[in-house]
Point group: D2
Chain length 320, copies 4
Amino acid sequence: MADTRTRAGDIAHLGHVEMLTDRYDESLDFFTRVYGLKLSGEDADSAYLRAWDDYEHHSLKLTRAETTGVGHIGYRAASPEALDRCVAVIEASGYPVQGWVDGDDGHGPAFRFGDPFGHVFEIYYETRRYEAPPEDRPALKNTASAFTGMPPRRLDHLNLLAQDVSVFRDFMLTCLGSRVTEYIQLDNGRIGGCWFTVNNKTYDLACTEEHGTGHGRLHHVTYATDQREDILRAADIFLQNGVHIETGPHKHAIQGTFFLYVWEPAGNRVELANAGARLILAPDWEPVRWTEADRKKGQAWGLKTIETFHTHGTPPTAED
Amino acid sequence: MADTRTRAGDIAHLGHVEMLTDRYDESLDFFTRVYGLKLSGEDADSAYLRAWDDYEHHSLKLTRAETTGVGHIGYRAASPEALDRCVAVIEASGYPVQGWVDGDDGHGPAFRFGDPFGHVFEIYYETRRYEAPPEDRPALKNTASAFTGMPPRRLDHLNLLAQDVSVFRDFMLTCLGSRVTEYIQLDNGRIGGCWFTVNNKTYDLACTEEHGTGHGRLHHVTYATDQREDILRAADIFLQNGVHIETGPHKHAIQGTFFLYVWEPAGNRVELANAGARLILAPDWEPVRWTEADRKKGQAWGLKTIETFHTHGTPPTAED
Amino acid sequence: MADTRTRAGDIAHLGHVEMLTDRYDESLDFFTRVYGLKLSGEDADSAYLRAWDDYEHHSLKLTRAETTGVGHIGYRAASPEALDRCVAVIEASGYPVQGWVDGDDGHGPAFRFGDPFGHVFEIYYETRRYEAPPEDRPALKNTASAFTGMPPRRLDHLNLLAQDVSVFRDFMLTCLGSRVTEYIQLDNGRIGGCWFTVNNKTYDLACTEEHGTGHGRLHHVTYATDQREDILRAADIFLQNGVHIETGPHKHAIQGTFFLYVWEPAGNRVELANAGARLILAPDWEPVRWTEADRKKGQAWGLKTIETFHTHGTPPTAED
Amino acid sequence: MADTRTRAGDIAHLGHVEMLTDRYDESLDFFTRVYGLKLSGEDADSAYLRAWDDYEHHSLKLTRAETTGVGHIGYRAASPEALDRCVAVIEASGYPVQGWVDGDDGHGPAFRFGDPFGHVFEIYYETRRYEAPPEDRPALKNTASAFTGMPPRRLDHLNLLAQDVSVFRDFMLTCLGSRVTEYIQLDNGRIGGCWFTVNNKTYDLACTEEHGTGHGRLHHVTYATDQREDILRAADIFLQNGVHIETGPHKHAIQGTFFLYVWEPAGNRVELANAGARLILAPDWEPVRWTEADRKKGQAWGLKTIETFHTHGTPPTAED
């Protein structure tokens, strides 16, 4: 009998995010010079970026556009067979399907589909490993390219906005075989936010409630740092470079992540995060439920969540 | 057709290690007061210990014995069905099988078997989650028990010694469905060391070559810390408490782990380690090969490997 | 001709602060078990506490009282002759003088005097060095006692409230020979806050404006940590122990200090702080002026200063 | 009566070190691109360098030469009067005097003199504060220039070699009014090493015994970092850039400094160090004596001191 849900393990990991910008040059300068990604390549419309230990050609595709937000989200399947199984599940699922696309500079054929809120996903298996040119060869052969000392080590996760998080959750469970590690349950019973993972990371995608009229919006994209100190240092680098620091450094109660949120020049929110040694290893991890009462305590160390964190997403809405 | 090798994903994670000690009281004092584990329970022969964020009842079983070394190594399966599949593979494999045992205070029935070098493994699914008594309840509900500020957050990995690492490697691939992430290939073609994982951790078990007459020996057991700073602080705590610091803090070239090795009072080597944000996410990760020429450069930052690191294991051998 | 102001260098350093508590047992438990000070001794009314590398008998004298706040502030003179010179200056200064007192368990004769706002100061030279008993001997002979792994290394500074910071500034310059390293100048010309030092530390005492009816009040007492990571870890320890975290961890724009403020059980505000490698070495350091426009940017990384930070002091006022 | 020894407090701090290099271009590239200093200016023979929070025009003068080593060492006096007093003491002391020189791009008139081992010192008061051009303005007005994220924050200390450390000690006490904070006393009674300070830093100059035929040699120059993590990160940067890492990161037993030593391209040893919150505040600090027995324990965490640390200095000797 056909699977009605993607199997655990068939999707290996979040591979890349395409971010749209209407200030391409400034955004590219920010990501390369200030935030600390490396440029793998560039074509007419996009720059391909990666952190120093991302093993694929790129983990961020920065694309010129008339507005901001997320272009598409790419997950890598665990094998060609796993990819086929996922595609079969998705085709049978009733979720909107765009079908196979050729891939770009960074990977092979990808199967595109969408969630009910306008976000575009793709899954692929064939990828282009980053091949470091001589000047970018790592000193240690178990890392993907030269150590730069810049904070981001690898792509970590992204956060999308959806009008109904429960509906989004079903999409993630069905199409990507994700499991839920933590979620917010509002007093009215609705799910206010949900954190998903396809592997042992504590989350690779979060979804929180869209309160306004936005559609298919992005809340933020995040890279992981090796240490919390990298984030404290980054805060001073952002300050020095006039970057808008929205909130942090502080520690989230949910997921326990040490965080720092800034807005890149076009307005997309980007984060640096450190989870310490936290992983979800239990195969039967019971999703952690956070209530409104819990949330009233603020972040882990008491910081009140800043108002824009609930309202700012990209692209902006008519209300903005 | 029956599987001849345990499937990737069927074993979820390393669950616990049983360590033998002929100085039980001193070892227990070390692990609880100095190293920073918590006591979950104790019976006539063993103390059950865990780090503050280990979700199971224990990750270290410390057992009174006439000598030192490793009692058994427990891995948790991903599901009851996965456990059955693994058992079938192992029974058919020809590796020495001891069969089902009742489990102890910390988990349900376990299937025991051995590698060709005298190490005893067990796999189990039913487990006893750690239920924190009121005084040990965590402030954040997504952690397993009260934060203590002590360095170890969770069990990370162990390192065994074997006369033939290639033979050990076959055992791990067959019985646990492990994959090799890095290895040392000596100039004579032999495998000098091999690092294994069953999940996205960079390794959960390492095996290095036994040079002497030892049999079934332990090289070390390791807990993970959230930050490298926890390890620097631990070094001062070990110094203050008269613990033998063998080597570190420094960074391994292999796996890039920031490490610190000490000997607990009975002589077993224990480590604190931090991998930063490093994970093995690529489903087709190509094992990294280290040559003798590479190894001559020492550890990542040039530290020469200390002689005892090549010779000291537990239990001691007649040569010691 | 007699000095009209204490000479630079005649006062060596801030020695200790006496803190009053109307919840003595809870405060003592907090300082020893949670905050991480050591108990040097106790008499009928007071506990004598110190951080692990404070070289004197105590740096915090915790005294049973009917309310909270600061009892007295002790500075150590650089020599007996320096002490005499200071006393002569103070006696001639017109500031209220209480005269010589015997000292307590921790030091010899002390000369007591007051500022115009009700705070009591004392200066002394003869001191009682902390003599570690065998169980508290440091592993390294250049530190004062056993390393505990707890965050506070040494007393750093305190912050007092005064109705007129300019008047307080004159007091500090005259009596202690302090220099001003940074200050806040309000748009109306008043000095809103002022940071003082008698040595190369960036400050050992700060004074900020008392907005209400309080008299002789304390804003906070601070210990220094070796690393910022100690403060992040402390935040989790405070969270776990139910301590009220008022604000932080974050970085002050003024002085650039990485900070964390909590309230001990009786309500006195205590801080942990890390200045990194920052020192005031220039003999002609020009005081840094911060304007209201500067202050509107919030703390260094944009955190808005929490309201209680402007209003909460000890003892409470009738308004509280 | 004339002073026979410079008064405590008359010398404010170590100001700059002139380092000689016979590979000027490579050394300059190392210091600016890898080690993380900034270039303040350059003339025909020298580059003027500083860390991001050094308040003077330069703290390192890198000079083209036919060999390596130290050109001169500059200390800044506390005032013009203090400078005059020091000069009088030095002129009367019998130590070799070169007299007043004009100063260079970074400071006013300087009085030059020498120790008995061929090292050239100068003292000066008038200095040129670093005036940051717009592109180097700091985000926080209490720091000297733009934060770069690079490890060195300010010049910390240097280490010279002398055939007789006791004789060197007398020179430092007489001419600079230094005090000794720690020293090594060999079993034969000789002083093997001595650590000096003119302020609250734990040391600004160290002298260790020259074992060979070298004359006026340099052991190393050190910059301070804000955090130990900056040093761990620097180790990876040095590794990536092919810099010779001699030893570390580790912690010295003497002074408790967290250290990392590398050789710049011409062979001069440079260090990055972090002292945490350690300061010498006691006006009557008793110098800490380290014996050969102490030294046999190795560095704080047991690292054996590497052989080249005892033999390598610059310039090289005929034996090298």
